[in-house]
Subunit: 412 residues, 2 copies
C-alpha cells in the first residue's frame, strides 16, 4: 500500500530511499524555529488542522475552494484542511485578544495542505514557521518581525552572502496607482499584474497594464527607482541599528499575491536566486476585523517560512548537520548471567539522562561491539561483575573500571 | 466564527478561557515524550495525517469507516484522516525495513482523528506518543517497551503510588478459550466480551459467555488467579532487574479491544482508577504482514499514550510546571535617543541566546518596568549611554553597570 501522492513519509536517518524525507532534519528545523522565536519573546500557539470551510472562503473568496482539501463531515459540516494559518490565528486572536497584552507576538509550526494538480515532485502538504505580531501599527513592529525572519535564517548558518530580504510596500504601489489615475476598483487586479511581472512575458504584462491605464515602462521605472517610503525607511534604519541592514533591500517587484495585505510586504530569497521564496509576509491590518465579523479591529502582520525550500537551500549550502543515529552508552553483555545487573545499569544511566542501548537478546561480543559502533556510541560499558563495569571511550580508547554508582561520572 | 466541535485551540499561558488548551503544556508533554524516547534509543518518524482509506479498512475492517473523517479527494481517491498510527508505521516499515537493523525502535507524536457522535467534552482529535519495537519476538522486547512506558510516566513526576501497569496476554486467554472447548471461530467475540466485563452488567456478560460455552464464574476465577504465563513471568523478572517491578501487575481483565493484538497486552492507569487508561498497547505480530500484502513478516509491538488523559492526571497530581510567560532580559528605553543602541544590545543578547524583550514603541518608564515584571524577566537592562547599560537582577535587586560587550556575562 502506498502513501497518497504529494504527501511525505519522514524516516530516521540514514535515509533508506531518495523518495522519503528525514525526520531528523525536520526536527532540527523545528527546534531551530522554536529556539529563535523564543529569543524574540514569541509564544507558541496552535489551532486545529481541520477548520470550517467558511473560515477560508471568508478570507480568500470562493476561488480558494478549488485548491483545498474540503469535504462534508458526518455531521454535514463543510470543513477543510487548513491551507494556511493566518485565518485560524485571526479567529483565535479575535476570540480572546482581551486577555493578552498588546502587541501579541505569537508563532506556530503548522502543517498546511493544498490540493494542487499533481506535478512531478509537487507537494500537497508542508510545514510552515508562522510568526505574527498583532496590535501594533508602528513600523517598529515590521522591523521586529523582519529581524526575526533574518535571525531565523542566520541561526541555520546562512549569511548575508546567502540571503536577501526583498522589502516592498502595498502603500507605495497604492500611491503609484492612485496618482497615476488608476480606477480604484481595479487596484487589486493591478497588484496581480505586478506580482506576475517576473514570470510573464513583458508584452503580455504591458498589454494588461495598458488596459488599466498604465505602461510596463512606467511600472519598471518606479521599480528601478525603488525610493523607500517613510515607513520602509524607518524599517531600514531600525534594521541598521541592529546590524542587519545588509540583509535587506527595497524591491518593489515584490507585492505578494494574496488580497489581504495592506502595507509593507516582503520575501526572503537565496541571494543567487536559484530557489523559490524561502519566506514571505507582510501587513494585514484588516483581516482580524474581517474574520471576527467587525467585533475586533487590530493591526497585524506576519510571515510564513516553509520547510521544503528551506531544506533544499540548507542542503545546497552544506548547512545541515550530520544526523548520526547515536547513543551515549552501549552496554555489552558478554555473560548472560550478568543480564539482570546490566538491565539495572541501563535503567540507572537512562534515569541519569543518558541515551543507552544494549543487546535485547544474547549476541556474540563482536556483533555487540559492531552495533555499538554503528550507533556511534560515545562509550561502551562491559559488565565485569554485578556491580562493576569497564567503561571504554570509543574516541580516545581510554578504559576505566568503575562501580555502578560511579559509572555516570565517567561518561562525559 | 467558531472552531469545529471536538477540536482544540492551543493558547499561550496564562489561558484566557476554560474552553481552550495550553500550548505550553502541550509542548512540555511533547518535550518529555521525546526526551525519554531518545534515552531508550527510539528514533522519531512520522507519516501523513491523510492516508488512503484502504490502509485503515485493511487493518480494522469496514466497520471502522463509521468512526473516520473520510472523504473522496479531488482526484477521486478515498482518503481518511488517520485515526491511529500503527497502520502508517506498518506501511512505512514494510516499504523500507531492509535498510534498518532489527529490532527497529521508533516513536512518533501524531495527531489522530476520530469522528464520534458528539458528547459533552468528547474530543475528535488528540495527540499520541506512539512507541514501537519491530523485528524482535522475544519478551525482552516487551519488557523494554513497558520500561519505556513506565519511565515516560515517571519523567512527568508520577510515582508507583500514582500508577499501575496492568499486564495481560492474549496467549493466556487463547489457551483458556481453547482448553475450555471454545469454537475458534468465535475467539475474537469472546475477547470482546472479556474486554467489556468492567463496563457491562454481570448478567449480560454471563449470558453472552454462556452462548460461547463459558460462564462468568469460570472467567472470573481465571482472572482472580492471575497466574502469569512464562512470557509474562519473563517480563516481570526483566522489570524487576530494572527496579521497575512495583509498577506492574498481572491483570487478565485487560485484553484490548482491537482485533490485531496477538500476545502480551497492557494498559497504564492511575492507581486510584479515577481516570480512563493513560496508555495501552501490546503485540501485533501479524500486522506488518497484513499491511504489506504478505511481502514482509516481522513481529512487532507498541503502545500509544494520549495527551488528554495524561494532562488530566498531571493536573490532578500537581505535576504540571508553572508556565510563566518569561524572558531573560527586558531592555528599558527611557531616552528615545538611545533606541538605536538599545536595538543593537537587543540583537547582541538574542544572538548570544537570551530571550530579550523591549518596548516596541515609546512608553513611560513605569509602564516599561511593569511589563518587565509581567513577563517575569530575570533582568532589566537600562541604557546609560550608547555603550553602557545598567543591569538589574529582578530577584536579588543587585545592580551593575556594564559595557555592551560585557553585558551578557552579568545575565546569569
Amino acid at each position: 500500500m502506498e502513501r497518497l501522492p504529494g504527501f511525505r513519509d519522514f524516516y530516521p536517518e540514514p535515509l533508506p530511499h531518495q523518495d522519503v524525507w528525514s525526520a531528523d532534519a525536520r526536527q532540527f528545523i523545528f527546534d531551530t524555529w522554536r529556539t529563535v522565536a523564543r529569543r524574540y519573546n514569541f509564544r507558541e500557539y496552535d489551532g486545529p488542522p481541520l477548520e470550517p470551510l467558511e473560515l477560508f472562503t471568508t478570507k480568500s473568496g470562493e476561488e480558494i475552494v478549488g485548491q483545498l482539501y474540503n469535504f462534508a463531515d458526518k455531521g454535514a459540516r463543510n470543513v477543510a484542511l487548513r491551507p494556511e494559518m493566518t485565518p485560524t490565528l485571526a479567529r483565535m486572536v479575535a476570540a480572546h485578544e482581551r486577555n493578552y497584552k498588546k502587541p501579541i507576538k505569537w508563532f506556530a509550526l503548522p502543517q498546511l495542505f493544498r490540493y494542487e494538480r499533481q506535478q512531478k515532485g509537487r507537494l500537497r502538504e508542508h510545514f510552515q514557521f508562522n510568526a505574527d505580531i498583532i496590535g501594533e501599527a508602528d513600523p517598529a513592529a515590521d522591523a521586529e518581525l523582519i529581524a526575526l525572519l533574518i535571525d531565523t535564517l542566520r541561526a541555520f548558518g546562512l549569511t548575508e552572502q546567502d540571503l536577501v530580504i526583498r522589502l516592498s510596500s502595498r502603500n507605495a504601489w497604492h500611491d503609484f496607482f492612485k496618482h497615476g489615475g488608476g480606477d480604484m476598483a481595479h487596484e487589486y487586479a493591478f497588484y496581480q499584474i505586478v506580482d506576475k511581472l517576473e514570470r510573464e512575458a513583458p508584452e503580455s504584462s504591458d498589454e494588461k497594464l495598458r488596459a488599466l491605464g498604465f505602461s510596463l515602462e512606467a511600472v519598471n521605472t518606479f521599480i528601478e527607482k525603488g525610493a523607500p517610503t517613510v515607513e520602509l525607511q524607518s524599517i531600514l534604519d531600525n534594521l541598521a541599528a541592529r546590524g542587519l541592514r545588509s540583509f535587506a533591500k527595497i524591491d518593489y517587484r515584490v507585492i505578494r499575491g494574496l488580497a489581504y495585505y495592506t502595507g509593507v510586504v516582503f520575501e526572503a530569497f537565496d541571494a543567487k536566486g536559484e530557489f523559490r521564496a524561502i519566506a514571505g509576509g507582510g501587513r494585514y491590518d484588516n483581516l482580524v476585523k474581517l474574520i471576527s465579523g467587525d467585533k475586533v479591529n487590530l493591526p497585524a502582520l506576519g510571515f510564513g517560512m516553509g520547510d521544503v525550500v528551506l531544506l533544499e537551500i540548507l542542503k545546497s549550502r552544506g548547512r545541515l548537520p550530520q544526523f548520526d543515529s547515536h547513543v551515549d552508552v552501549f552496554i555489552l553483555i558478554e555473560d548472560e548471567a550478568l543480564r539482570p545487573p546490566a538491565l539495572k545499569l541501563t535503567q540507572d544511566l537512562r534515569t541519569a539522562g543518558f541515551a543507552v542501548e544494549y543487546p535485547l537478546t544474547p549476541a556474540k561480543s563482536d556483533k555487540q561491539f559492531k552495533r555499538a559502533q554503528e550507533l556511534k556510541a560515545g562509550f561502551t560499558a562491559k559488565l565485569e561483575s554485578d556491580s562493576y563495569v569497564r567503561i571504554r571511550n570509543l574516541k580516545t580508547r581510554e578504559e576505566i573500571v568503575a562501580g555502578f554508582a560511579d559509572a555516570a561520572n565517567h561518561l562525559k
